[in-house]
Symmetry: C2
Subunit: 306 residues, 2 copies
């Protein structure tokens, strides 16, 4: 990540979903969510975003209007016959743990993303958490992206390790949590895990640690940032994708991929994630203002400077 | 913590022990340890330390010579008939978890600390993790300390909550881990837990989070620092006391209790803790040089600056 970029657009491929969420703070039904939506909304505070995902014939006009109101290019949303992806989850008192009560792939089953000409020149590509074989097939369709980010999860590490490992040398920024880093590397220690993953070809690895923050490992440098210490966490859903969206959004908008700016981008990712957990699903994002983002960025400086 | 101090001496009350340690990295028998020793050795890199603890008639001259070679004032060690405190612990593969295989209080049973005139004027007092009633009795014997630090553990929060809570208004810096903070406050969220503990009268609370670092809550300010990402952790024994020793050691040596210096002190605490876990018990401290401390402090700057 050393070249500079000029165009701010990010293409994100992932899920668009309606989530029913139960947390110790309460319950919310059919909230607009999914990895691609959380990513895109966060990134839209900084730059132009193009969304590639399947939606069902039940996808409401209001949701589409909301995404477009954020400047998100929805031309890559493929409307298919059937229901939009749905997830119903319940978090434990310890919100690092959750159970899936119900999952309906809907139009996501059998989805084969096709990237249009308008999107395939995007300089930034984020491959949200879907089947690594699909992620690879999507990436093949891009012209020559400057930066490729990728998210994955335990399920794919278990069930699709070979296609996932084959993708890593094409990835500039792998975004995973510490459990996934351990599973992918087969190392318990997070620093050794990261070194092993860099050895598999990823140019850098951002390990998300929930309430403890995040740590970026690159060949020559390590950067750690704590999470913002919130007194109320309503719902952690989407925090990881929102983090990635804020991070890549700032990077794309600034066009500066040098280490100091990558670090600032990680702080912006942390800032956005600290907002999204303040309400259910992506509700908090609907009222968030750019000023509040800058104010919390300054609070991160105050939280960490010595 | 706003006044300045002129004299660098810290008095520490706690345990002197011989530990038998089993970790995934191996085993070590009868290592010199105990909360007061780990604290005192770490603080001795910065300032004069006075050690108050009971030792048995089996305490070897070599161990005493080592402590004195570090400039530690051992006149407060009370030699009593019987064996020195012994602990035998075994850590899990996840080194945040450990089991006590054997514990022999030895001369610690029935110990009533008496603070000599040479020690009772120490401006800094650290009350290591012992019975809160004993901690209070010790604190009563000090003239007018500038800064009082206190450590405790789940056992005392369960069994001696009333005397522990009675102590908190006399404590400038409470040093506990996140599980203890939750238990003491009866709050799950660490920020709310800290606010509740400040409400109980402690002037500030440092919450230690093991491999995730530490976070200081004071009425007007929060400071978070990650842990140094080590590839090899041999033995976490003593990391918390070493952290506290480095922290108070730097504060006492500098005589500056303003917020920016408290933050630097927390980083020094993190630095010392990152060294002690590199070998069994306190072995790494025996070869540690001040230059290496300063070098790792600069690595903490590089790890966190943005």
């Amino acid at each position: 990540m050393t070249a500079a970029v000029n165009d701010g657009a990010i293409a994100v491929i992932g899920s668009v979903a309606f989530d029913t969420l139960e947390t110790p703070a309460g319950r919310a039904d059919d909230e607009l969510g999914g990895s691609a939506v959380h990513f895109a909304v966060a990134a839209s505070f900084f730059t132009k975003v193009q969304l590639v995902a399947p939606i069902g014939d039940d996808f409401p006009a209001e949701a589409l209007r909301y995404l477009e109101s954020r400047g998100i290019d929805c031309s890559g949303l493929e409307r298919r016959a059937g229901r939009t992806f749905r997830w119903h989850g319940r978090y434990h008192e310890d919100m690092n743990r959750r159970d899936t009560l119900h999952l309906d792939l809907g139009v996501f089953g059998g989805f084969q993303p096709r990237v249009t000409d308008a999107i395939r020149r995007a300089p930034f590509v984020f491959l949200g958490n879907i089947d690594p074989t699909l992620q690879g097939g999507v990436l093949d369709q891009f012209a020559s992206p400057t930066l490729v980010g990728l998210d994955t999860m335990n399920h794919w590490i278990d069930e699709a390790r070979a296609p996932l490992e084959a993708l890593l040398p094409r990835v500039d920024l792998l975004v995973i949590n510490d459990e996934e880093a351990r599973q992918l590397s087969r190392e318990t220690n997070v620093a050794r895990a990261a070194r092993r993953i860099l050895g598999l070809g990823a140019k850098s690895v951002l390990v998300k640690r929930g309430e403890y923050g995040a740590i970026l490992f690159s060949p020559g440098s390590v950067f750690a940032v704590p999470a913002f210490p919130l007194e109320e966490v309503f719902d952690p859903t989407g925090a990881g994708d929102t983090f990635a969206g804020g991070l890549l959004g700032h990077l794309a908008a600034s066009g500066d991929l040098a280490t100091p700016n990558v670090r600032r981008a990680i702080v912006y990712g942390s800032v956005l994630a600290s907002f999204v957990v303040e309400d259910f699903g992506g509700r908090r994002m609907r009222t968030l203002e750019r000023d509040a983002i800058e104010q919390r960025y300054r609070q991160f400086v105050a939280l960490t400077e010595f």
